[in-house]
């Protein structure tokens, strides 16, 4: 029986029959349906995914006319950073990295962000003038939409890095209400910081703010970003915002938060997009997390089923996160291009995303 070269979720090469690939696609979809409460993919969509996985060519692509916007996060750090930010360790300026992305790599948007300052809202406040200066210089050269990017990173507001009690520590001691109260105080501070950073970067000419890895510290993190976007939009209506998520469901660390009456914890991309829209976000960046022990086919169907529903329910354009370990792409610093292009095509032509 014919076998096809494909991959595991950790990037390892395997060979599978078409039947096995179909089984994995169905199992991945079934998991998405169960956890995310989303509809099944149609038999035509599953057949399309199967053809994408089984394509004998190394690189696959969308049909001409189906191309989508490629936005970025991580800023210049993809070149200049270390492996922690998927960086290549190349010594170059932020401007040079931005120009390479714009003029050589054909990116449709780019951003400036400072890994030297943890690429996080809280420490960046202290170097705001330098960030503004660099943004002004870079806007003089860049043509594509050019944002300021940072992670909300609410963890930095808790002990030992910040002024507020550490919620998981407090909860372990049985102090659940105290933990929730500390979280609420941290949220207020982070919301103010987001507004401050956003307004300053608009003054420096930024097209807007790209929030990267939102909700990594759970529901409070997400809620702060939504409130921060709201305040930023009120202060600077021209600020364009993209909220990129960190995981497929919002981890309930607080557990009892709501945004305008809607629960925040535990929600999946299609509901997250709705909250983003209510906050005034312009482009939403949903995430699905690759399971390294499952195959590419499993992860592809799982991710496509969740993101398709998000795209369908969202009135906002959605740019799905598709880097290492997200969007069905294997959890490997150097994921196989064969797997990346397959996931790329699947997201565009089956999930119908607006961008990547």
């Amino acid at each position: 029986m014919a076998e096809y070269l494909t991959y595991m979720g950790d990037g390892k090469r395997i060979f599978c029959t078409r039947e096995k690939i179909i089984d994995d696609l169905q199992a991945g979809m079934a998991e998405a349906v169960e956890v995310g409460n989303v509809p099944d993919l149609t038999s035509e969509e599953l057949a399309m995914l199967c053809d994408i996985v089984c394509d004998r060519n190394r690189i696959v692509s969308v049909e001409p006319g189906n191309e989508v916007v490629l936005s970025n996060d991580g800023a210049q750090n993809k070149f200049t950073g270390d492996s922690g930010s998927s960086g290549c360790g190349i010594e170059m300026s932020a401007l040079a990295a931005a120009q390479v992305h714009e003029r050589a790599l054909s990116m449709d948007t780019f951003e400036f962000g400072s890994l030297d300052n943890n690429y996080s809202v809280k420490p960046l406040k202290a170097v705001i003038a330098m960030q503004m200066q660099k943004m002004e210089d870079m806007q003089n050269s860049m043509i594509v939409p050019f944002f300021y990017g940072a992670m909300p990173n609410m963890g930095l507001y808790y002990e030992p890095d910040g002024p507020f009690g550490n919620p998981p520590d407090l909860m372990r001691e049985g102090k659940i209400e105290e933990a929730q109260s500390e979280m609420e105080k941290a949220m207020d501070m982070m919301t103010r910081d987001i507004e401050f950073m956003g307004v300053k970067m608009q003054e420096a000419g930024s097209d807007g703010f790209n929030f990267d890895t939102t909700a990594s510290a759970g529901d409070g993190d997400f809620l702060s970003v939504l409130r921060g976007v709201e305040l930023l939009k009120k202060a600077r209506p021209e600020a364009q915002t993209m909220v990129g998520m960190s995981s497929e469901n919002v981890i309930g660390i607080h557990g009892m938060l709501d945004y305008k009456g809607q629960d925040v914890a535990g929600i999946y991309p299609h509901d997250q997009a709705k909250l983003a829209e209510m906050a005034g976000v312009d482009v939403f960046g949903p995430v699905t997390n690759t399971k390294s022990g499952k195959s590419l086919a499993w992860n592809m169907a799982y991710s496509v089923a969740l993101i398709k529903e998000c795209e369908k329910k969202s009135n906002l354009p959605c740019h799905v996160n598709m880097g290492m370990g997200v969007g069905g792409i294997p959890m490997l610093e150097t994921p196989p291009a064969e797997a990346v292009t397959r996931c790329s095509k699947a997201m565009v032509e089956v999930a119908k995303v607006d961008g990547i």
Binding site: G155, P168, I176, G218, G255, I267, M331
Partner: protein
């Protein structure tokens, strides 16, 4: 002979409902029905695994997980008098858990600690950004025979390998089972660095840790 199906179901339901009094009552009812204390604890452990799965799927939240764990602890304490003497306070193994040096991510590791505790392990949670030598000291001086190393960044997962190397250098590698986890960590990485166990989620970790006991 009864299999206590109704009691097991009631315990599972109470665990997933995560209320401390509810869990205590379900355990007390099972005891009154004649169910062995060890079986009740095992049923609560199974319920806790389900709580872990529901947390990972966004159906339950951290306060619920910890409330369920607290409920189970209270119920176990109440059952102690009914346990065979040689089982009172005994644990499957002593495990030191921590997020490796240079990495401040905490939540995943904390959930793993809680799940292991409920699964019958004696857990020493060292917290986050733990100096590597502290893990070694736990094996050397505190009787830990298992170790859980969490890393959430590609730059810190290498510390897992370093600690295994330190264990070898100290002549302790054969005395301890090393478990690794964290977002960028995979089975391939675990194999490459010579770890004994990898699990992709907190809920599957308990079974894998038990399997290591032989």
């Amino acid at each position: 002979m009864t299999s206590f199906e109704n009691e097991r179901k009631a315990i599972a339901t109470a665990m997933v409902a995560y209320k401390v009094p509810g869990i205590q009552k379900a355990a007390a009812d099972a005891k009154a029905a004649g169910m062995e204390a060890t079986d009740i604890i095992e049923a609560m452990g199974a319920g806790m695994s389900e709580v872990g799965v529901l947390f990972e799927r966004g159906k339950l939240f951290l306060p619920h997980v910890l409330s369920a764990a607290n409920g189970m602890s209270a119920a176990v304490k109440a059952l102690e008098a009914d346990l065979p003497k040689d089982q009172v306070g005994t644990k499957l193994a002593k495990v030191c858990m921590g997020t490796v040096e240079g990495d401040v991510h905490d939540i995943g590791k904390s959930i793993c600690s809680t799940m292991l505790q409920c699964g019958g392990f004696d857990v020493v949670d060292l917290g986050r950004d733990v100096p590597s030598k502290d893990f070694i000291a736990q094996v050397k001086d505190n009787g830990c025979s298992m170790m859980g190393l969490s890393a959430l960044m590609t730059t810190t997962m290498t510390v897992q390998r370093d600690i295994i190397g330190m264990l070898k250098d100290a002549g302790l590698r054969d005395d301890v089972k090393v478990m690794v986890g964290g977002a960028p960590v995979t089975q391939t990485w675990a194999d490459k660095i010579g770890a004994d166990c990898y699990s992709e989620s907190a809920s599957e970790q308990v079974d894998r840790a038990k399997a290591l006991l032989g």
